[in-house]
Subunit: 450 residues, 2 copies
């Protein structure tokens, strides 16, 4: 085992904004009614200007405020590990590295953006932030971040998760957040949903609607999103910027960069600094690979077109790969990967050929996770396990071809709150979900042409 | 926030054996029948010679095998943190540091010894290790360690924990261990207990008995203990040796060293390298403080005398502070601190005046933990929270006296599997247990004189 640790004064001082290096600009978000591009003014009701400016910025590097770096120091720079025992188990000539984000207090990469978002809201005098959470990774990260900057936090947690994952709720409460089982009677959207179906188990779409309504109807309250948007992806580039420094420290450079994709913030953050080397640098052959579940194959089976960012239809239209916002992915354990779309930046770079995507079944992903846990020790989240699976597959290919390639994967978080999923795997209770081409086509066909 | 990180080649190459620096030798363990000292030969049925030698060694420094250091590299050197936001919240002139063992894959200090124990068993051809676990910290650490060295592991897990803490069981199974709800029908002890009381909820004493019987009756099987014994404490000195290097790196030295004590391995490991400076060095005024629950006040209310190490009476007599091996501590959430005795080395050094002890109620401990979580971010285990409480109290004293002292506490592990305890605290469901002087005296009075 070898871990590459940077000193805390080596935490990057700027985030990297890949918008500056795109050969053609990103298609803008559209107002779903007028179909006209959305401007910064349209977002002011729910986001602070500091974040709106980042959302549309064309500057290549954006300074990280010292107050944010100070909080990053709690767990950053995160370690880059060489997975030597995994390599030995696979008998591969490849070198496998992983960037480990499980060291943050909430246990994932999410606080990289939560801390920045809480900071900019605090700077602009926002007293309260409303957000939604499914499994709880984002909600707990925002609770952690708002607590630090003295902002109140309300989390609308999808009812079935609220009931099934009480520990995640307690984690948020530990950091001072109010957590409600969504739908609630606290919003008009929630009341209407409950009126129609008092026994609903909730959904991420409903919870987003409640949080957005909460923010839009309270003067002192903003909204925060944990993935997809450009400013969220921007904050996550701290991951890839550190990775580049860590590879420089050992005088290596990866051949293959791998990561799981739900909304895309973790993997975009990890790979965009490397994608830059493909676009404007000397690394045209670098392979960059997204990994998604076959139960939610956005990049591998979706269409590249405009769609709503949420499943209810409240947000602007975003240009992205989508399965259709009415598509309901099967109930896999990697809850963080159950999103019908993906970050528009990640989607554009995939469309433009800078990166590719693969998709896997649940059981093969857990099999890979188990091998990882038994060789490298750390229990990874089911989401991150998708990246482990792809990294192992590439290492096996290297063995067949006897190639000493350097593989690195973004290991987005620990699975300490996902052990019931591992238990189900041990007991052969994991189903290999997929969706028919027809069901995907049907959901996409319901989208209006733009 | 400032963390002091050492490079992985600075992992100490030797453990520190405080037996070499004792002014009078440790009273030996006694055979309970003959009352004669136990020799190395007596332990061969259940421990490998490599560990037995360490148990009785008088050498000051004992080399750490390179294979063990290689595994330590997964999470060691562990970070030493400056808790600046906690200091600010307390408005104290004191500096507060903590040594964070929650970074290990099982989440506590326990693998520091589990890895060493698994290694020496592997070297001597042992194919299988049996052990007991209560809440699961030790069982999961031994599962992690045996998996790495290719040894089978069987864990007898106290029935009520097995049922209440399924995630800890799954963690052990993830690392390939067999986990059984104790008492089982697999041992004679277990069968006899079940015959008398089929509905027993189990106890650590019963589980120890089952594991020891398993080891004693299987040629290929040894037993492993997670605390108390000299060799376990020895392995944990890696904590304190790193701490000394880390303080040297910032040119500081603590005035007060604090840690929670259950069996004593975490705190002994953290403080013995500092205790050496009191015994033979130039730090006579260094304050070293054990923290225990009022529900199990071994050092603060117990007597220093010979007693069994387990609650059933299978082990040798050990000279230590004890509440009597039949004493049953109240069911506090800090399950790892519910032990009637303590490490004989720690007890002797307390008796000899090199360290002192304090005891707290549960609610004040959780109150301290909550302040820590909200300022420093990391969710600490209820056991470690006892050390947090004492560190905060010393910092408050420094404020009153306007003293800029340096306080450091051993932060033994994370509380990701203890969130139900935090939930109970939020809901005012935590009881402040204590035991009457009479009940303690009664348990101690049942011990034979030696």
């Amino acid at each position: 085992m070898k871990k590459i640790i940077l000193d805390e004064n080596e935490i990057p001082k700027e985030w990297y904004n890949i918008q500056a290096d795109l050969k053609t600009p990103l298609d803008p978000p559209l107002n779903p009614k007028t179909k006209e591009p959305i401007g910064p003014e349209d977002l002011k009701a729910i986001f602070p200007m500091g974040l709106i400016k980042q959302e549309v910025s064309q500057e290549r590097y954006i300074p990280i405020p010292e107050e944010v770096r100070e909080i990053y120091r709690i767990w950053r720079p995160s370690p880059l590990y060489r997975a030597e025992r995994l390599e030995k188990a696979l008998k591969t000539p490849a070198k496998i590295y992983f960037k480990w984000e499980g060291v943050s207090p909430p246990g994932s990469h999410k606080p990289n953006s939560a801390v920045a978002q809480a900071y900019y809201n605090m700077k602009e005098g926002v007293e309260r932030i409303a957000t939604e959470t499914g499994a709880g990774q984002w909600g707990s990260s925002l609770a952690f971040a708002t607590q630090i900057f003295g902002i109140k936090c309300r989390v609308y947690m999808v009812k079935c998760s609220y009931e099934q994952k009480p520990y995640r709720r307690v984690l948020m409460e530990n950091w001072g957040a109010e957590v409600f089982s969504s739908p609630t009677n606290l919003t008009n959207v929630g009341k209407e949903i409950l009126r129609r179906d008092p026994n609903t188990s909730g959904s991420l779409g409903m919870a987003i609607s409640e949080a957005v309504e909460d923010a839009a109807t309270h003067e002192d309250t903003n909204y925060a999103l944990g993935s997809v948007l450009n400013h969220v992806v921007l904050h996550q580039t701290i991951i890839g910027l550190e990775m580049k420094k860590q590879f420089e420290a050992i005088d290596e450079y990866p051949d293959i960069v791998v990561g799981c994709v739900g909304g895309g913030s973790n993997f975009s953050g990890a790979c965009f600094p490397f994608v830059r080397d493909k676009i404007v640098g000397d690394k045209p052959d670098l392979k960059i690979v997204s990994v998604e579940p076959l139960a939610c194959p956005t990049l591998t089976k979706g269409e590249y077109r405009y769609d709503f960012g949420d499943s209810v239809g409240l947000t602007p239209f975003l240009k992205m790969y989508t399965l259709g916002h009415t598509f309901v992915p099967a109930a896999i354990h990697a809850g963080g990967l159950r999103y019908h779309g993906d970050s528009p930046l990640l989607c554009k770079l995939t469309k433009d050929g800078y990166m590719e995507a693969v998709a896997y079944y649940q059981n093969e992903v857990f099999e890979a996770a188990e091998l990882f846990v038994r060789t490298e020790g750390f229990v990874v989240a089911p989401e991150a396990a998708h990246a482990v699976k792809a990294a192992i597959d590439f290492a096996k290919m290297c063995k067949q071809k006897n190639e000493e390639k350097i593989i690195v994967f973004a290991n987005s978080g620990h699975g300490h709150f996902d052990l019931s999923a591992y238990d189900a795997y041990h007991n052969h209770q994991i189903q290999d979900y997929t969706h028919s081409e027809e069901s995907i086509k049907k959901a996409i066909s319901q989208l209006p042409d733009i």
